[in-house]
Amino acid sequence: MSNAQIEIQLILSLVAVACALPGVFLVLRKMALISDAISHSILPGIVVGFFITHDLASPLLILMATLTGVLTVVLVEYIQKTGLVKEDTAIGLVFPSLFSLGVILIARNAGDVHLDVDAVLLGEVAFAPFDRWMYNGMDMGPKSLWMMGGILTMTITLLSLFYKELKVATFDAGLAASLGFAPMAIHYGLMTVSSVTTVGAFDAIGAILVVAFMIVPAACVYLLTNNLKKLLIFSSLLGIFASISGYWLAHAMDTSIAGTIATVLGLIFFLVYLFAPNRGYISQWYKEKQQKTEVALLVFLLHLANHEDEMERNSNHLQEHINWSHQLARKVLKLANQNNMIEIENEIISLTPKGLEFTEQAISYITDNKNSELEGIKQNYFLFRG
């Protein structure tokens, strides 16, 4: 590995973590769209800052662009507060306006500035190692490395100081307010950190990848864990993993680094979405199917409990009486049998004492609807387990 390669991977990893941490809270607050809005609407701030300073890494530019990011949030909330449009509409109104303002500014001054929209949106991390910070003639390393290192340090410091406040304000803003934790201040703090991170990262990796780094790792790990700390740690690790694997993949295929990383992130999300143990698509689908069979089982048992008449309980006639497909009827019969809820004698099906007890409890659940513990009943009878 060359020095430049190591530096690129370091920068990418720093950006990944710096984005993942605020990203977790954006996802939990259902504000993923806001990061997209910020990443676009900082453009006019960047352009104006660049006119003044002619340096993409200057603190003044970062400050101005960050302010534009926070301004986006303020405008969105202001429009939303009028009650005339919903939040997503408000976002859709604000950021294209600000973004196009930036595009116009660039177009009008194309001769004076080395800045184009593509570079802002896509970035080019391969060039990051060439923009170096010289201090007293000494080479201190790439500017982006320092910038992202600084931003990440700030984020981690704030997060460890205000972890508890951020958690309670995100989970229950009402309680946070009543306890005096100023959820609005925390909200704007989070927005400012997100803006600073976006601004600091866009030069190296582009605005699109910033959004991917903020949202995708958090959204993936959210499907896998029930613990906020783990969510923060594993989102960061996932971001680093996608950065490094994406980098080498892009290297091998000789293609855009940012694009490849974003694709890797997308693929990872797709896999997690399908296969996550509890909240994944397949497991949800399986659960739904189980529930359908459970309901069918209950209907079947109720039928048995309701009919003394042996004719009604003859296995040959049951199918037409309940009017089920052969397949479903067999599945339900098998399930009931496996759970020792029925016994079959001379083709006559009757409930066992266990089956009767289960049916009675289920009926009382359905009729008075007071007992919120159907899950408990199911567990007591080991449906689908024995």
Binding site: L161, K167, A177, S178, E373
Partner: protein
Amino acid sequence: MEQKIAISIDDLTVAYNYKPVLWDIDLQIPEGVLMAIVGPNGAGKSTLLKSVLDIIKPLAGSVTVYGKPYKKQRHLVAYVPQKGSVDWDFPTTALDVVMMGTYGALGWIKRPGQAQKKQALEALEKVGMLPFQNRQISQLSGGQQQRIFLARALVQNAAIYFMDEPFQGVDATTEKAIIQILKELRKAGKTVIVVHHDLQTVPEYFDWVTFLNVKKIATGPVAQIFNDDNLTKTYGINYKTSIVE
């Protein structure tokens, strides 16, 4: 004997998007009552609680807690929000949610430690949820979630408790358990204010009641003012036949 006033609300008007939902409310809540706030959906019950607790800024009027503004008296007040107001898929456990009740006493930046954990465990025990302490909160039933919220308020160890529909979606057993705890709080001299929907149980559970529908209709002892007249004024339909003894 002159009773001390726990909460005093004067000329309170609250609006969302300039549409008033609470209009010129005057309300004195005496110390030590177990009070129900009743009124139809959208009457502004939750809004009233939120404006007392400084969660929303009123358009006009003022609220005092034992004679001082709420901001100075936070430590005296605990709050149970309406259950639907939070995201139960949030990645956290029952114990952790109850611990949040200790954050107020901790103040900014300081982290909860063993002492806070002990308080939280005691509160979980009190509401019968100790075995569920490490459950992820989305895997609790509606009644269990409500008990967790109650435990979180108990941990705040306050003088005044505000609860927004604590009986929503709970079964008869949980309802009995919760009301038992509320009655114990009152016995300990605390003031408990509950937004309540089941009119049948008002006389049995509460000793004080406030009728609210945008305006305050009436407030006072259940024995004196919980009658058809006030119910009709509040709900707009004749209650003579609806409430059966």
